[in-house]
């Protein structure tokens, strides 16, 4: 199963440090994201499996807990919000 982020044109993003606000034009819903959700979305530059995504994140960040199960929970939240699709 691969995870897919929306195309950039579908989202309006605002920095509300330490959060990120994301308006999804497709649903009209505003999401408030805390780390690592914005980083995960940014890393999904193309459809990826969990393992591929974990490898990308591990390259870009110093992962405190490089655990696919933890990443899966974060991805489930993003899928539930409608921000990430599965294919």
């Amino acid at each position: 199963m691969r995870y897919r982020a929306p195309e950039a044109a579908a989202l309006i993003s605002t920095d509300l440090a330490p959060f990120t606000a994301l308006f999804d034009r497709r649903s009209g819903i505003t999401h408030i994201l805390a780390s690592p959700a914005p980083e995960i979305l940014a890393a999904l530059t193309e459809p990826m499996t969990i393992d591929m995504l974990l490898a990308v994140l591990a390259r870009e960040y110093d992962l405190a807990d490089p655990d696919p199960a933890a990443l899966a929970v974060r991805l489930d939240e993003l899928v539930a919000s409608g921000l990430v699709a599965t294919t």
């Binding site: 649903s27 819903i29 994201l33 405190a64 655990d67 929970v73 939240e77 919000s81």
Partner: protein
């Protein structure tokens, strides 16, 4: 006798050693995947979103009550009753569930290919303030 006070040039710079004894300096930002608190995503739905139960039962009249009796042209606009090439209104409002299925590629009940297309174009052009707009808008939100 070696001088222990001076740094040994053969050893990596102490500042570059991480906990695992790795000599490569790490400048990447720390990221934690596990949840700190209730999760990483909070969604604020607009006030017009309906609950999952009622979405399927909400209704979309074609056309809305203010234009009752008007015919629907191919492009979804409302035209005078009896206009050639336009479609008579369906006998009843469509349910949210029916429109949702039509959006997924099925046909509205009781319609032909052409009248389905005309009604769906009408529905897609609904604006705030028109009957059925709230119902239609809520069909497009994830998880109702």
């Amino acid at each position: 006798m070696s001088d222990h006070d001076q740094p040994d040039p053969d050893q990596p710079d102490a500042a570059a050693i991480s906990d695992g004894g790795n000599a490569v300096p790490t400048r990447r930002r720390l990221l934690q995947l596990g949840a700190i608190g209730a999760g990483a995503v909070v969604s604020i739905r607009p006030a017009l979103a309906q609950t999952a139960g009622s979405v399927m039962n909400c209704e979309i009249p074609v056309p809305d009550m203010g234009h009752a009796g008007g015919f629907i042209a191919d492009d979804g606009s409302i035209v005078a009753a009896g206009t050639k090439g336009a479609y008579a209104p369906p006998g009843r409002p469509f349910k949210g569930e029916e429109v949702k299925r039509a959006m997924a590629g099925n046909q509205l009940p009781g319609t032909s290919y052409e009248s389905n297309r005309a009604y769906m174009n009408y529905i897609r052009r609904l604006q705030r303030g028109q009957g059925g707009f709230t119902c239609f808008a809520s069909l497009q939100m994830p998880r109702g």
